[in-house]
Symmetry: C2
Subunit: 294 residues, 2 copies
């Protein structure tokens, strides 16, 4: 990984970690609920979405405290989606990142409620953010709810479930990933740029960029399922294949999946240049996403 | 029921119904998700929480359009909580209000996602409300997230689950109901009063009132489980007893549960007088809650 990016990621991970700790430590709620929320928030997440948000913000502004609560809220939304996604009625996963999933560690009811709690608390956190204006808070709530709700991530999850029963086309696969994964990336990039003071035109180019970034992330996920090291990716290799999931590799074969990813990388970088953000950490993040090993 | 209250409820139910229809009809989302959300929103709910919100607002202001989106958001949150509460891992209910529960009509995964979608969309709806100022939207998001999240309703649900494994005391039972049911009532009354322009002191008295209103609602629920008509309440009589739930009737016996309810009614009305809202529909709603047959 590019040295500057490596430092950027590790610095910002620490910032987001202490922001998450701050909010959770002060939360006076039933013990089991709190333990379950913290368990999944602490379960080895790479904090990619908050880091992307912060990288996007840093193109336009440097006062990073202004985005920390929003970045923490985003990580909570992402975490809730994993907790619910792992449930027996959904993907039925027992292990995530090498650790028992929430409903395995606790129980199903607790996992459902911890997910609901993380989702709801993310909006509370934004509405209480002392560094944002009311107008900024409203805009962030609006685009976060759109990105994560029935028009966004939840739509992607239900389409993904429906597609599991049949063979999806490449177009259907792109729609699913754009909603299921891409919408939170898009939120990260939009929220960062908006709070940093980017112009609407720049944000439109960044929207294009984030669409491709989400797709790159997903193709690489599918590639790692076949070529990855199980100790590094934290789950058995080939689990998508045995679960008969629709993946890029299944649809295109490994070589053409890699080609597709490189095509997305080119398009992502073009969009980034058009947004005037070609020197930003978002550029090196694109390569990192494309080449990541876990 | 008091004639004026009957008209008030039926008029406001229609208003909230068309508000819900308006938001859902325009929602461009996957068909199955939309059907599942609408199914539970339309499944015979009495719209009590929106009606309470509107009754609270009407003490201070008459321009009822100003609270309709907030009232619709509240009904969505309440509905999501029922959908998740009915899941096999939670209360495992097959029937609600005489109809199959969401996961019985659709499936568990769809019910989980429909609940997530209703919860998230409620915040989107508030953030897009054209009639509220940004400062009002932020305040509503804040108190709604507090009431429904890990400090509020979700805390009540996890405490309720934990209490099922043992015999709860009266105090524990009150805490559970104050969180699980009372917090959304409190939100309804606070949000209505706040948007109507009530003073902070009045809102504090109304907070007291809403605490008792939630408890009255719950004791009557427990009483109806023993004395109700199954055709009217939409579930078998005695289902709480056979599920070994902690109820007021189990804890106190029927006669003392009725006494307890009457005690709550007296305290609720006293708080209402102190809030200067003794002539409002909230007064007759208190009697209605206490005497309801379903």
């Amino acid at each position: 990984m590019h040295q500057g990016l490596k430092e950027f990621i590790s610095e910002n991970r620490e910032l987001i970690q202490s922001e998450l700790n701050k909010h959770l430590a002060n939360l006076d709620i039933p013990v089991r609920l709190k333990e379950s929320m913290i368990y999944s928030l602490e379960a080895g997440g790479k904090r990619l979405r908050p880091v992307i948000l912060m990288a996007s913000f840093r193109n336009y502004d440097h006062e990073i405290n202004r985005v920390l609560p929003t970045a923490a809220a985003l990580e909570m939304i992402h975490t809730y989606s994993l907790v619910h996604d792992d449930l027996p009625a959904m993907d039925d996963d027992d292990v995530r990142r090498g650790m028992p999933t929430n409903h395995k560690k606790f129980d199903e009811a607790t996992a459902i409620l911890a997910g609901d709690a993380l989702l709801t608390y993310s909006f509370e956190l934004i509405s209480n953010d002392a560094l944002l204006t009311d107008s900024e808070k409203v805009r962030i709530v609006q685009i976060l709810a759109e990105a994560s709700g029935p028009k966004g991530m939840v739509a992607g999850q239900i389409l993904d479930m429906e597609a599991e029963k049949k063979d999806a086309t490449l177009e259907e696969l792109e729609t699913i990933h754009t909603l299921k994964t891409g919408e939170l990336f898009r939120f990260a990039i939009r929220a960062g740029a908006y709070l940093g003071g980017a112009q609407d035109k720049q944000i439109r180019h960044l929207d294009q960029f984030s669409r491709y970034l989400g797709l790159i992330f997903q193709v690489q996920d599918d590639i790692l399922d076949v070529t990855g090291d199980p100790d590094i990716i934290g789950k058995p290799v080939g689990s998508d294949v045995s679960n008969e999931k629709n993946t890029y590799v299944k649809l295109l074969g490994l070589d053409r999946a890699v080609q597709k990813k490189n095509d997305y990388v080119d398009k992502a970088k073009k969009a980034l240049r058009e947004a005037g953000a070609e020197t930003s950490h978002l550029m090196s993040l694109t390569d990192y996403f494309s080449n990541r090993e876990r």
